[in-house]
């Protein structure tokens, strides 16, 4: 079913034929229906309407994976969503969330239109419908007031991962109002991005080139089920295991729980929770001791590998080699991780022998951060085998050449506001490496006598449910004087809103989004609105922002010189033409030829004008530049020395600043001192409900646990030995209690987890979320304490200890 093939003939005649056949099929059923009516006297079976078939090219925004989709419509009604075969991320495929997208479009519990709170916070019954004008006028007036009072910085934004125009407009919105408090809530990429920043000096989420790797050492958990871009990763995995092409990569999972990635893997190496970094450095230590590392890369591109005299302090600075030899003896690593010396040696030798071997740091899901220590150690492992910016290695994504927006207008109020320190503390002290810290913002709101945040906008985020401190956020949202939610379906945070400005569903808006995290190539995806009009009285995120700034007036509105959203998108896309590179997606190209031509300064665009490019982008679904140039060292190694930092200097400077002592090699894992009977909490995000969304849709609730042992409820996985020790059984109902609170869960006794571990899925336990999510299961994020890991200052879900208490039945 290739779109291109069909464009060559007259669609109308073809549709006539199809409808005829379909009618013939349905006629038989109708007869059955009549018969049945005679026998049972009941037949309410719906008969879906027939109509002309059409396809609309759009994109999936059920997660931040960035899949291009093609929506099949009958009589203008969308009936099925599939991947857009031309799209480089989806390649015609989708994940279960993308497949279930129509249930979110047609969800019966979506907000009917804007609402204002008239009763107490915390309940959906407290809301009353209002007109858009009234809602927008009110919010705009309050924001204008903040500016007039000279404290625009008391506006905060809590956002999810938004890669479309709405996200770019929100960034600009915060800048033009004059607030630095633009805060992102999902934290799944934080630790890996920090590791890249420290070692390579690049601010980006690294990309793991799985498909060209030969041996993959996956740490922690969910590299296949919930990577940054799930379909892109799973397609790469398909190619990694392409036996038809004579390739078969080996996948090894190292971690305390045998996730789905671990089930699919060739080998699972169970290790003590929190000892991932130690294992990685143990492997590193073998590579160095046995001289299996890439001497060329380490010598030419690396730094702090060998000991060196420190020119300033006049005493020796210890390099990675010495540290590994001194601190990471195999016996010690084996004791800390619970893995045999034999296994560590075996892994190291296989990893070094592979062409190439790729190590991927603990990926827990879109919401849960890993620990910087783990990600640094794993990244060092990649560098030791020279697998940086090489095929099958760790790549740095390239920027997308959308046309830059005009400068912000001169605005002293906004300038002053933007210069105020961030309320979440990101970029400073303990949080120096972070660009935002959602939980830090919630704490700041609660810490002061009056909330420093006067108004908060919540877009594509649900911090009162899907953050590492949901209860703190709930209390914080109770305190903020003006909470504006842009949710489309009621979510837990919208229960604490004063105003609800419901966004349209992605399939109801057109959009232009940039490359999702996890893909190396610059990509722009165009999404067309599938429905002519939104189902409900809703507006697109971009339109809401534009309508707010118009009401706020000059000089804020001046920062948005576009007549409307479509003209913004068209303007931005002109940058693709100006970049003189890349092609409309789906254009066949010969890599070697194009590279040679581009190298010689030629570029054959395949379209004649900007307008033609824009038209073709909308038809095909996007633009990309598929050619990744490996080994662009000046782009991917941007440390002051231009070298890979085996022992990042910045960490030492940070230590000096914050008075900590965070040696890269300090073993700070929570491997000991657990109180009697306490278990290490291990959270995971099943793909269908990852990122805190998905439980609203019945088709996704049904597939949370692929083995179908569990569904529509929260479970806790424990090892048979643990179950025996605690005298609990498979299927018992228990209370899982931490120092912060407790939730109820069903016990699943399984060898998927190590003894001493309690593994619980994240994504259930909503207070809102519509009829299929509300009150289903429990939210284990409520169990997390405010503990942070020492190196990066990230919240550390792995530090939580829980007890299981049998519930009376």
């Amino acid at each position: 079913m290739d779109g291109k093939r069909h464009s060559s003939f007259d669609r109308r005649t073809f549709l006539g034929l199809t409808a005829g056949v379909a009618a013939g099929v349905a006629a038989g059923v109708q007869a059955g229906g009549l018969l049945r009516r005679g026998v049972l006297a009941i037949d309410d079976t719906p008969r879906p309407k027939r109509g002309a078939e059409s396809f609309v090219v759009s994109s999936c925004r059920q997660c931040s994976g960035g899949c291009g989709v093609r929506v099949r419509c009958i009589g203008g009604r969308p009936v099925k969503v599939d991947g857009n075969p031309l799209h480089p991320v989806s390649g015609g495929r989708l994940c279960p969330k993308g497949q279930a997208m129509l249930q979110s479009l047609f969800h019966p519990d979506r907000f009917a239109g804007p609402m204002r709170r008239v009763g107490p916070k915390g309940s959906l019954d407290s809301f009353q419908p209002v007109a858009w004008d009234e809602a927008l006028d009110f919010v705009a007036r309050r924001l204008l007031l903040l500016r007039q009072q000279g404290r625009p910085e008391s506006l905060a934004l809590l956002r999810g991962a938004i890669h479309g125009a709405g996200g770019r407009l929100l960034t600009r919105f915060m800048q033009s109002i004059g607030s630095p408090n633009d805060v992102s809530t999902p934290r799944g990429d934080d630790a890996t991005a920090m590791a890249l920043l420290l070692t390579q000096g690049v601010s980006a989420v690294p990309v793991y080139d799985l498909q060209s790797a030969d041996y993959v050492l996956a740490f922690g958990g969910a590299q296949l089920e919930t990577p940054a871009s799930p379909v892109h990763m799973m397609r790469a995995y398909g190619r990694f295991r392409d036996s038809a092409a004579g390739r078969r990569g080996k996948l090894v999972l190292v971690g305390p729980r045998r996730s789905i990635t671990g089930t699919v893997a060739d080998e699972w190496i169970p290790i003590h929770p929190g000892s991932e970094a130690i294992f990685a450095l143990g492997v590193a230590s073998v590579l160095v001791a046995e001289e299996l590392y890439d001497k060329e890369f380490v010598g030419r591109r690396g730094e702090q590998f060998e000991d060196s005299p420190d020119p300033e302090n006049h005493h020796a600075e210890i390099g990675l080699r010495t540290l590994l030899r001194r601190d990471y003896t195999l016996d010690r690593v084996a004791a800390e991780t619970g893995v045999s010396v034999h296994t560590i040696l075996g892994v190291a030798r296989e990893f070094a022998a592979a062409r190439p071997g790729l190590a991927i740091g603990p990926r827990l899901g879109p919401l849960l951060p890993g620990r910087l220590f783990d990600h640094l150690a794993v990244h060092v492992l990649n560098a030791l085998v020279g697998n940086i910016d090489a095929p099958g290695g760790v790549l740095v994504p390239e920027a997308v050449p959308l046309r830059p927006w005009p400068e912000l207008p001169a605005d002293p109020i906004a300038d002053a506001g933007r210069k105020t320190p961030r309320l979440d503390g990101a970029g400073l002290g303990q949080r120096a490496l972070m660009s935002s810290d959602a939980e830090g913002l919630a704490e700041a709101i609660l810490a002061a006598e009056h909330s420093p945040v006067e108004a908060v906008l919540i877009a594509d985020a649900d911090p009162a449910f899907a953050s590492l401190a949901p209860e703190t956020f709930r209390a914080a949202l109770e305190r903020v004087p003006l909470v504006v939610s842009l949710a489309s379906l009621p979510d837990d945070s919208s229960l604490y809103a004063d105003w609800i400005l419901p966004q349209s569903h992605p399939l109801e808006c057109s959009d232009l989004s940039t490359s999702p995290p996890g893909v190396p190539f610059p990509l722009v995806s165009h999404a067309a609105a599938v429905l002519d009009r939104p189902m409900r009285d809703t507006r697109s995120l971009g339109d809401i922002v534009l309508q707010l700034v118009r009401r706020i007036g000059e000089p804020v509105a001046q920062a948005f010189p576009w007549a409307d959203l479509p003209s913004l998108l068209e303007q931005e896309a002109r940058g693709l033409h100006e970049s003189r590179r890349g092609a409309v997606i789906g254009t066949p190209f010969d890599e070697a030829w194009v590279k040679m031509m581009e190298g010689a300064g030629w570029w054959a665009p395949g379209y004649r004008s900007e307008d033609e490019l824009w038209t073709r982008i909308r038809e095909a679904g996007g633009w990309w530049d598929p050619l990744y140039d490996h080994g662009q060292w000046s782009r991917v190694l941007r440390t002051p020395s231009g070298r890979f930092q085996f022992r990042p200097r910045e960490l030492e400077q940070l230590d000096a600043q914050r008075g900590t002592r965070s040696d890269l090699l300090a073993i700070d894992g929570p491997t000991s001192s657990a109180p009697e009977r306490a278990l290490a909490l291990t959270l995971f995000e099943p793909l269908p409900i990852a990122g805190g969304t998905g439980a609203e849709l019945p088709f996704l609730q049904a597939v949370i646990d692929p083995s179908h042992e569990q569904g529509w409820r929260t479970w806790v996985e424990v090892h048979p030995q643990t179950a025996l020790a605690l005298q609990i059984e498979h299927g018992s109902l228990v209370r899982v209690a931490s120092s912060q609170g407790s939730i109820r869960a069903r016990v699943q006794v399984t060898e998927r987890v190590l003894p001493g571990v309690a593994a619980i899925p994240v994504g259930l336990g909503k207070r809102a979320g519509g009829r299929w999510a509300r009150g289903i299961g429990a939210n284990p994020l409520r169990l997390l304490g405010a503990v942070r890991e020492s190196l990066g200052g990230l919240p550390d879900p792995g530090a939580t200890r829980v007890q299981l208490l049998l519930e009376e039945v």
Partner: protein, 228 residues
Amino acid sequence: MTRWGMVIDLERCTACQACVVACKVENNIPPAGPEDAAVGRSIAWIRLARMETQEHGGVSSAQLVPVPCMHCENPPCVKVCPANATRIGEEGLVAQVYPRCIGCRYCTTACPYTVRQFNWKDAAWPEPLDQALSPDVSVRPRGVVEKCSFCHHRLMLARDRARFEKRELQDGDYLPACVESCPANAMFFGDLDDPHSEVSRLAESPRAFRLMEELGTRPKVTYLSRGD
């Protein structure tokens, strides 16, 4: 002769269940709630089954295997149906004729792969969820059995398209919804009798096996085993 068959490569399958959800959307399967799920009455034409395996170190592990209807060449379900409501039809597809089904459920018992499901109640789609229903697939009334059809309606559509373009049906023209969606490219579909088709080649692979072959059902779904 054409004989439609499927190959599922377990080496590639990531147990993501895109196939499961794609099937539900394509085939107008009604949403079920927790009550239905608790008593095993939520319908899925393809599901992931757990197969326990013993691995080195004594750690038992489960492999997750997608299981649609096997479209057996020698289908036990057909033999037991008293109403002739299930039959092996054109090109080897085992079809369920809803208007004839009397709901006796002999077939659900006879199918060794337990892929047949009974409609215990009237299908319901709270408004406006019903707007996403596809006219290509009839909605099943209460009291009948249903199962995977290999998206038979897609075969008819594909044939129409080919006829319209005045050409023969080609390998890849007709794919069930699950196969089309699979992100890991673990599922293949085509004519097992065509020696040049991808499925017929893969079905000959040394890794190929079929579920419960010993029962003589002659399934047309082939699995490729994992192994190093």
